[in-house]
Assembly symmetry: C2
Homo-oligomer: 338 residues x 2
């Protein structure tokens, strides 16, 4: 059995900062990333928790990420701000850009933040939740590497192209979803491969384009989108909006840029923010009530809102701290010679 | 065999105007609607073609639609415009609002058009294609009536909640999709019911929440979303953005408002426009080229872009006119005593 060690959220944060800084990452970047790693561990999204420090140190060692990049904020238009991440991690660029994005949305009603040239680090929910915490509706999109075939095809074109959305709920956790437009996350297929398990048909096709339940063959072939032609169309939309629209790489270009290193994908990200107060004025409160009525129609029949499991985990972790496998912690501590 | 009659697109348009005007619809509305009916027939989207005149005359006879409503344009903020359709049809409101939406997007980069209190008439693709024809990226969302259960539930909450998107392609048809977030259109289940055919499992549950292949039972129960929990999350997002965010009805409220009349649903619509030129400046052309590279990755492997069938039909109809079943045309001509 794997022993679990109890850490407070502050301990997780400080550990992450120390590991990242000792591996050469600039302090501002280390703090920004430690924040989302702590949030991931807190919400029991383990692949985005302290485990991600291992991925990150490996990526840093490959020397591709600009460890001390100073993101540049570019005010493009009254409703558009860009941040050039200068080939550093995305998180600091997001923090710097989000401030301007929120200001613009509050002023003009809807605004866009384009982050360019970033190694995209986290899930997208921390970003849309950040906007929701300021009373804004948030939508975030990124490409990744071209692993996913379009509907009707068998060759990989799209990334796993996630989409995340948050709606602020006064006095409670926001309504949030964050999902890949591939049938499953690529990591899920990798887990099946490692444990020698078959994958369900519908997740992938093999290199000759035939449906497969073999994880290895699926990884060598192409993943499929969720929801057939509809999921494929959405994935294409995400690729267009978070690629060409903001002057950044397609998933296929991002993969070529990686050149087989297997690092965190480098590409762009598009984040939209909408201010309900601008749209609604004096009717704001009544319409937040209307949204609550919708949520009640869902939960009142026993269905769950997306992210509910994550918010439950969050409440637990904020009370009791988190429990990290000793073996994982030992691997991480080895990075700082402890 | 059903005889087909060949009509030019101008004949279709003039017929639609005459039928609508003779049934009491104001001239501006009749012309705006004739335009989308002609486009639907031209693209061989028969449910949105001349057939829709029958639905429309029936709705007009119910007396709910304000036949001569003068939509009011409200300039809300630099990136937000609203049009109060005053309980008339949506099409004229869209035409009036789209002009302001495009101006705003070109000025500030991204903008939103909220249409309120409208009987939503058409598919959404005419609206996003209209924006694409001006070089803008378009996204459109509406609720409908609460027919669709959320993932994990069995009671109807969401509308069929369509989403449409268009990306302008210089010198060609835009990249466009327009689909319901329900597993299928409600009309598809109705067609199965009328012809006594079973529906595939996954389209609907019966009134007791059990999976069903009986169309009648599915219509009495709840439709399901496409793509399980992911489609359900998207449907909820559409409901929030095209409902509470713009101060308009949820699908359940729209259904209550209809009070069993079975008229075209009355609710709001949200349309976003993004101007690539603002986002990209001098890099615009290069990035439209990048988008073309993406489309080539899709079509180059034999997969089809969404709407391709529609564009093929359009090319045929623009050359040869359209072919309308005599029986359908007779039913329509009866409305104008011919």
């Amino acid at each position: 059995m794997n022993e679990l060690l109890n850490l407070s959220l502050t301990e997780v944060h400080n550990l992450a900062v120390e590991v990242l800084e000792k591996n050469g990452l600039g302090s501002d970047h280390a703090h920004a990333i430690a924040k989302v790693i702590t949030a991931g561990e807190r919400d029991e999204c383990y692949s985005h928790g302290v485990y991600r420090l291992i991925v990150s140190v490996n990526t840093l060692k490959q020397g591709k990420v600009n460890k001390s990049a100073l993101p540049e904020v570019i005010d493009v238009a009254p409703a558009v701000v860009k941040v050039d991440a200068k080939f550093g991690y995305s998180q600091l660029a997001f923090e710097m850009g989000a401030k301007h994005l929120a200001e613009k949305a509050k002023k003009v009603g809807i605004a866009a933040l384009a982050i360019n040239n970033c190694y995209h680090f986290s899930a997208l929910w921390p970003e849309v939740e950040h906007l929701a915490s300021q009373g804004l509706v948030g939508l975030a999109l990124t490409p990744s590497h071209s692993w996913v075939a379009p509907a009707g095809g068998t060759k990989p074109v799209f990334g796993t192209n996630p989409i995340a959305f948050a709606w602020p709920r006064p006095g409670g956790d926001p309504y949030v979803f964050d999902f890949a437009t591939s049938a499953v996350a690529r990591g899920e297929i990798e887990l099946h491969r490692r444990s020698g398990k078959a994958i369900p048909f519908g997740w992938a096709v093999d290199a000759s384009g035939e449906p497969t339940d073999n994880a290895e063959a699926g990884l060598a072939g192409a993943m499929l989108t969720f929801g057939q032609h509809k999921g494929s169309a959405l994935s294409c939309m995400i690729e267009l909006l978070a690629g060409p629209l903001i002057g950044d790489l397609l998933s296929s270009e991002s993969q070529a840029f990686d050149a087989g290193a297997g690092a965190t994908p480098c590409h762009g990200e598009l984040i939209l923010a909408l201010d309900p107060k601008v749209f609604l004025g004096a009717d704001t409160e009544a319409n937040f009530g209307r949204a609550e009525k919708l949520f009640e129609q869902i939960t009142g029949q026993g269905a769950r809102l997306p992210s509910q499991r994550r918010f439950d985990a969050r409440a637990r972790s904020e009370k009791n701290g988190v429990f990290v496998p000793k073996k994982l912690l030992d691997d991480i501590l080895a990075f700082i010679n402890r």
